[in-house]
């Protein structure tokens, strides 16, 4: 099954690295959307079908915590899995995010293997690697 994936990070470098890691990990991707902050990500979600979201924490306009809180408020956090990708993943912050429905956390820097592990765990499928 091919997934539509949304990558949310204010850094174009990170978005490219996650995209590449997904490909190297053999994740079956249909479409890969990108957004520079939580607000842009919400716009993507309003208009496109997304199966999985990778999201940074520290972003301008709307950061990762605000984005996740919004998804919870909209009642869609359970139907659109969100994985946080960040170097700012302290235990209190991760606890708040998990309480709001975030499925998993990937600490930067990460390997394609870690990305594959998370996708398989969150989506319940094996990749093509």
């Amino acid at each position: 099954m091919a997934f539509n994936i949304l990558i949310v990070d204010d850094s174009a470098t990170v978005r490219a690295v996650i995209n590449k890691a997904l490909m190297l990990a053999g994740v079956d991707m249909n479409l890969a959307y990108q957004a520079g902050n939580g607000q842009e990500a919400l716009t993507v979600l309003e208009n496109e079908w997304v199966d999985l979201v990778f999201c940074d924490i520290s972003m301008p306009v709307m950061d990762g915590e605000e984005f996740v809180a919004k998804l919870k408020e909209l009642g869609i956090i359970d139907s659109i899995p969100v994985v946080i990708v960040s170097s700012a993943g302290s235990e209190p912050r991760l606890a708040r995010l998990k309480a709001n429905g975030v499925r998993d956390f990937v600490q930067k820097p990460f390997t394609p293997e870690r990305i594959r592990e998370v996708v398989e765990s969150v989506m319940g499928v094996a990749s093509n690697a």
Binding site: A16, S58, P60, S87, A88, S90, P109
Partner: protein, 153 residues
């Protein structure tokens, strides 16, 4: 000036830079750094929370393409867009910063990182960094680098 473990900062910086860029670093006395006739690029970012301050890294502009290429898994000669090079350097600093804060305070730290800014270094800035006790010198794969941590609380 607030105290912190420079040894921890140095070790975290070198470890994260190596994992991200495959460049090997070692601390070096700033007086021994060869910075003559080099343009430098500075990335800096502030953070707030349990620890408040600014983290900066300055590298020769000539190696920013290599840094970006290694992070992205591309060839340096294929990367010339300054915005992409600046973004990659800023992201390197961003990752270093998060790890340094948690290694200094612990995983229970509460903190928020602000977006990095990237700017060219003029001669007066370079002189100031070389003279400042907030900045530590490094050699990254034969290139000089400066890492500065200034804490306010």
């Amino acid at each position: 000036m607030l105290e912190y473990s420079q040894e921890t900062v140095n070790a975290t910086f070198m470890s994260i830079v190596e994992r991200l860029t495959f460049m090997f670093g070692e601390p070096m006395n700033k007086d021994d750094l060869d910075t003559e006739a080099m343009d430098f690029t500075l990335a800096r970012m502030s953070f707030v929370g349990d620890m408040i301050g600014t983290l900066s890294v300055a590298v020769p502009t000539a190696i920013t393409a290599e840094i970006a290429a290694n992070i992205l898994g591309l060839e340096a000669e294929d990367l010339s867009d300054k915005a992409m090079l600046d973004d990659a350097l800023g992201e390197m600093l961003n990752v270093v910063c998060g790890h340094i804060i948690m290694d200094l305070i612990g995983k229970g730290a509460n903190f928020k990182l602000h977006s990095p800014e990237v700017l060219p270094v003029d001669e007066s800035m370079l002189v100031e960094m070389l003279a400042s006790s907030d900045f530590q010198g490094f050699e990254l794969d034969d290139s000089p680098a400066l890492l500065g941590l200034k804490l306010e609380s």
